[in-house]
Symmetry: C3
Subunit: 346 residues, 3 copies
């Protein structure tokens, strides 16, 4: 894909790493895993689970912690944070996207929309009334930008992204294919035995440097906006309900669901498949493990979990059957021995 | 967006509310939250969690229960159901969509399709062979309507909805962006060590006034149709398997998954992320709480749950470890004291 | 849809079934359920839950196990595997899709792409630079095929599928609407208080005969490819993280989430809504039940589960409250009786 190459010394200097054990003029032209690397590749070791692959690597250099250098058979690029350093090195070898400024002739742009001449609108995309696309933004093939949307400078919408209506993106926001931003929130009132739709009059505001995964949905607010502060990172298949507020630098793994009007702090990490009910608050720096359900506000930073551990089904069935009678059985045991148990309610 | 305004008295009369404490000629031009409202806004109080915001509101009027009126510093619109009343008031202020009847020149319509001259087909949409679009229906930008689909009067398909094949919508059905209705059900038979695809010959039938959320999927039936009765409301990212039947007025929050051939009653409420296994029946008026898994038929109306509560991870780990041995430990305790526990199986 | 008909004897011979109790010249023209069948229909009985419908069926023939034949009021087509036999019979009655080879005039094909003259590219689809579409492949309406993708012979992409970049499909791969294959993996490194995006330089390789459900996502690898071996079957709304490897013939039900770099064996069955954390290995022939979370590698084939059973909410709340104190309460009981419990850790 690319024939660009860099001397190890050049990489070390550019990213503040210490080159150890290597000739400064060794050149590399790509990145690879420890196990898959060959001559000309830079590999990295950050997750200890892969340490066993280090002695056999054929990489031309490995980015790693100083403590691992002794086990490395090839030149080392020593870093206090090998994963972050590797990310920067890998970016040197990314293939450029083949996009040019301009509006593809098959795209449909409303006469009242405003598209910068330095933006790119891909084939079969459409831009709705009164929407604005700033300079450097890339609107991928088959994207639909609805009415009254703002797309800030240098945003990248991959193929087939939908901004429904009243979606405002800051700068450098990146949205992946299939994402739907600004659909109606799920607002219903029961009225004489039938559902009545509650109009969704708000929008969505997304801060600078956010990234939103494939097929993720962020509904627009009922009255005020749904808000992502800057540098929020959402993986794929996530559902964000209306009027949710997500603090800066929070990251969520795939398939998380956040119900309406929840407020989530800054620097939170939400594990895959976790759920957060509506109208609660989570403070800064909370980690929720995978597939846990948050049903109450959290006011203390830390790691939180729910669920039970995986077991062979035969064992699990016996334990699950006990769970169904847990209150009665523990109570009976306690009465039997005339004892008192620690209170079961917090 | 709009400069329409209404006198409070006019709103009270139109929706059967009691105006209390306000001059009948005060006019309002929009809706807002209690905390965000200013002059000219109607706010509402339905969820008690927001009662603390009432004394400080700057709204021109608040829709609320009679019991809350005493704490309201501004005119009250008293309602037996403030949320439903608010929904009706908010609808007065919805911006009209900019759609006109007609087929956008960039749309692709099969010669054998029939589109009412009073329907709207948006840019870059396509309508397949033998499909019908009735009067008043709106097909948003980039929608794909496949073969043999019927779209009833006044349906609204937002941008980028897909009806795959043999999908029949009643009247006033509303489908949000990214939804896929009528894809193949997941039918597989293992045959000599390889999967054999089971043809999916049915369709999908959706009743009047249903609403289907963004990126939600409803598979078509293997033989007979998958069915949503009237006024079913599905949030985003939901998966409905083939041959499921969902009773009228049932609502499901985001990320619910329903496996094939399950039958769900009327007026059920299924919480976010809940799962329902295949080939079971759930009676009318069942509520399933968020992220619960329904593995057996339910014959008694009521509220059902599974899972464990969220805890700090350190506590959770200890309890989860006990769960893995629950049957053995409770059994050992019971034997020790020569006692008998209540049976652990239902 | 079709008027093709077949004699029962002809069906029996074609698929190796034993016709019992029927005149060999009875003809059938379609398939149906036991309850819905009428004259001219073949029905089937595989799941014992439907055995009660057998005595009242009006089908012209039923595919079933020999043991059920005695209760069948109509001719039997006896099979050792009625569901697989039914799948083959049903395929006789599938309506042909209305696709013809050629590129629809509204499609946008990059000059550097290569599309076989025996392939079909539907309306409003786009094919990116350097991508290849082999003979017999069908690219549905509004699909987006990005740069550097290979689509093997006889693949079928339903409407509105997205292959983002560097996606290589084998032969006869079938992908349903809304699926997104090859989006950026979720790679982030925290760097001085802000997220740093890790470039995603790999692709996705999908083997022959795989099927991928509607709105399912498969991210491309960070360095090496994400891989599905042959005959993998994924239902709708599934999330597959970057660098996952899924062994041949494994099937996953809807809404499963697999985190990055997990390796899953062959012939595994993953239940709906289950989660699999990253960087673990699951051996061949593992079944995970619905909504279970796999947090550690599995080295022994078998069935695995987590979670608790559904209960009426009132009972569940009492038991869940006990779970929160399980370690303390069981410990207190054990101390009280001077006993020792089986260890709670494995």
């Amino acid at each position: 894909m690319t024939t660009t190459s860099y001397a190890l010394q050049e990489i070390a200097e550019r990213f503040g790493l210490t080159l150890q054990g290597g000739s400064s003029d060794v050149r590399v032209h790509g990145v690879a895993t420890l196990a898959g690397a060959g001559t000309g590749h830079v590999a990295f070791l950050a997750n200890p689970a892969y340490r066993k692959q280090l002695p056999d690597t054929h990489a031309s250099a490995v980015v790693l912690h100083a403590a691992d250098a002794v086990h490395c058979p090839v030149p080392c690029l020593i870093s206090a944070d090998p994963y972050a350093s590797f990310a920067k090195i890998a970016a040197l070898f990314e293939a450029p996207t083949g996009t040019e400024p301009g509006i593809h002739p098959s795209a449909v742009v409303s006469p009242s929309a405003r598209v910068s001449e330095h933006a790119c609108v891909g084939p079969l995309a459409s831009i709705g009334a009164r929407s604005v696309v700033e300079a450097g933004a890339i609107i991928g093939p088959a994207c639909v930008v609805g009415e009254d949307c703002d797309i800030g400078a240098d945003c990248v919408l991959a193929a087939r992204v939908t901004l429904v209506t009243r979606v405002r993106l800051g700068q450098r926001v990146r949205i992946h294919s299939g994402a739907v931003i600004g659909a109606d929130g799920f607002g219903l009132a029961m009225d004489a035995g039938r559902w009545l739709k509650v109009p969704q009059l708000g929008g969505v505001t997304i801060g600078n440097d956010c990234e939103i995964g494939a097929n993720t949905c962020i509904d627009r607010g009922a009255i005020e906006d749904t808000v992502l502060e800057e540098d929020v990172r959402l993986d794929n298949q996530i559902q964000i309900g209306h009027n949710v507020v997500i603090g800066a630098h929070t990251a969520m793994a795939g398939c998380v669901a956040v119900a309406g009007s929840a407020r989530i702090g800054r620097y939170c990490l939400i594990g895959g498949g976790a759920g957060i009910v509506g109208h609660i608050e989570i403070c800064d720096r909370v980690t929720v493990t995978a597939m846990s359900l948050v049903t109450h506000s959290i006011h203390v930073p830390g790691v939180y979990s729910s669920g039970t551990p995986l077991q062979p089904n035969r064992d699990w069935r016996r334990n699950a059957a006990r769970f169904k009678k847990l209150d009665k059985q523990l109570g009976a045991l306690a009465r039997k021995i005339g004892g008192r148990l620690p209170p079961s309610e917090d």
